[in-house]
């Protein structure tokens, strides 16, 4: 008696349900298709210039002779210094928030909300900060490696803090109690038990943060970085250019050959990012402990 009712219902609904399922799949598919198309387009376009000259030559006004050498070295310098600055500070802030701070206090809650907000502040605003404070303004460093690194460090600091906090929080409390019960001080507990256990997570998060820094162009452009450099940086106070800026520079040229060069440099940039991410995944899978 009930079976016709059941059947009618399921008949109409099944089609609707299938259509909905298909729609959802296509939403996800859109993203993935875009990803594939983008990669294919960039690689095919850049292929003619993907050769050793790209790494060996400095930028030049003649597209045939131009390369990304100073940009690659600049990226290594700026992101390297950025990492040296941001990882210790970010981990320290994360340790403070997770291990010391009483989060019922208003000022500690302010820090937390503030970090969440900073993570979402547009990157160009960090560029304005760098322009008004570092490269000009009070510090007046000029457009040098240190100014670029500091700007990027402030930009990715919230990411390092947030990911490190997660890694520290994942260390079970029984480890801390075990150390305290042996007469360890708070810092001994953190330094010798909590931190070593959290290192894989912190490393993964830091790599991801630095890969964000590698791709940033907007804040550095604002610092005054759209210059034409035919030498590698030699220190914290030397001018520099980085890959994304060099790419932007080439995109803005009218000649098609520069676009090909830009595509080739993009492939290099993406290759760096993919290796970093692969390394992060490797670290996570290899060392991360599941409690």
């Amino acid at each position: 008696m009930t079976s016709p009712v059941l059947e009618r219902r399921s008949g109409a609904d099944r089609i609707k349900g299938r259509a909905f399922h298909l729609f959802l799949l296509s939403c996800l598919g859109l993203g993935l298709v875009c990803l594939v198309v983008l990669l294919v387009q960039v690689v095919t376009k850049g292929l003619p210039r993907l050769n050793i000259d790209l790494f060996r030559e400095f930028p030049s006004s003649s597209p045939r002779r131009a390369g990304a050498r100073s940009a690659i070295f600049g990226t290594i310098w700026v992101v390297g210094i950025c990492g040296l600055l941001v990882v210790p500070v970010g981990v320290a802030a994360a340790l403070y928030l997770e291990e010391y701070a009483d989060t019922t206090r208003w000022y500690n809650r302010l820090i937390e909300v503030n970090i969440q907000n900073l993570a979402a502040v547009p990157s160009i605003v960090y560029g304005i900060l760098g322009l008004g404070f570092l490269s000009r303004g009070p510090l007046n460093l000029g457009f040098v490696v240190l100014a670029g690194s500091l700007t990027l460090a402030l930009l990715v600091l919230p990411i390092v803090i947030i990911t490190s906090r997660e890694a520290i929080r994942a260390v079970p409390n029984s480890i801390r109690l075990g150390a305290y019960a042996l007469g360890a001080t708070q810092w001994q507990t953190i330094r010798r038990q909590v931190l070593p256990s959290a290192v894989p997570g912190i490393a993964t998060g830091s790599i991801l943060a630095l890969s964000r820094a590698i791709g940033e162009a907007a804040p550095l452009i604002l610092l005054g970085g759209l210059t034409f450099l035919t030498f590698n940086p030699t220190g914290l106070d030397s001018p520099f250019t980085v890959l994304p800026i060099q790419i932007f520079n080439w995109i803005s040229r009218p000649q098609e050959e520069f676009r090909v060069l830009a595509a080739a440099a993009i492939v290099v940039l993406l290759a760096i990012l993919i290796s970093m991410n692969a390394f992060a995944i490797f670290v996570r899978n290899r060392y991360e402990r599941r409690w």
């Binding site: 959802l24 993203g31 932007f248």
Partner: protein, 319 residues
Amino acid sequence: MTAPELAASPDLGLGSQSLLQASRPRYSEQVIKSVLALCGFLSIGTTVAIIGSLAVPTVEFFSEVSVVEFFTTREWAPLFADAKFGVLPLVTGTLVTTLVALAVCIPFGLGAAIYLSEYAQRRRRAILKPLLEILAGIPTVVYGFFALTFVTPLLRDVWFLPGEAPTVFNALSAGLVMGVMILPTVASLSEDAMTAVPQSLRQGAYGLGSNKMQVSTRVVLPAALSGIVAAFVLAISRAMGETMIVLIAAGGTPNLSLNPAEGMQTLTAFIAAAGIGDQPTGSTGYKTIFAVGSTLFAVTFVLNFLSIRLVRRFREVYE
């Protein structure tokens, strides 16, 4: 060490008060704590520095250009000899590119989120989600290149809508690509919100004979709403703050228009372009960067806080 003797003769009646005192004061513990706290407070310093670096030139700017002129006149040409300071064209530029981006990332991001949270099996989800998140890790300059050299030519070739085909620089292709860039953020945050909805709610609905689509759209979606709205708000903030894509693909001409097929300049693109122009420190052109930057910062600041509040409200309900 006194411990062994102590263990050997526990009831010695140790009168000495020093027994349980620290053998030496632990200053280093305090020093370390202070250093760590300092690093924590550094983030507040960053915000203060941002506001500080924006505020001073902005105030100076508005002593030279009236606020009314800034927000109401319709022409933006601050770097010309005959300077015009009407920010509206930049605002509409930002508005149009943002709306186009939202039109992509909200429906498709939400759809992907529903799929990942309600439909995909665990194994498939574990593969698809990281794949989708690769999109969020691609540098924006790459997206800009893609918009300019692939999406725009494609749009111009296949244009079938009424009106002129898009120009070489146009808001449409910048917005579309920006939408793809933000899609994983929307998908990921919405999915987090939906997976936090307790299983019992779903089971209750299935018990009443609902099918998967009904459960997803009528039970899970409303229950996760504030978390999902938080994702949308964050998406708006991201789209408004994006620079490189619009700088590369939407062109550099301020244009008071709502037609996405035209080229236009956004707030962010103006800031970057003015930075490229290397304004002398202290000139009106230099201060303009900060005035526009303040406008951008203020709007995204409000959006970010709204998003943080919404997420917090959502967490309080379910966690």
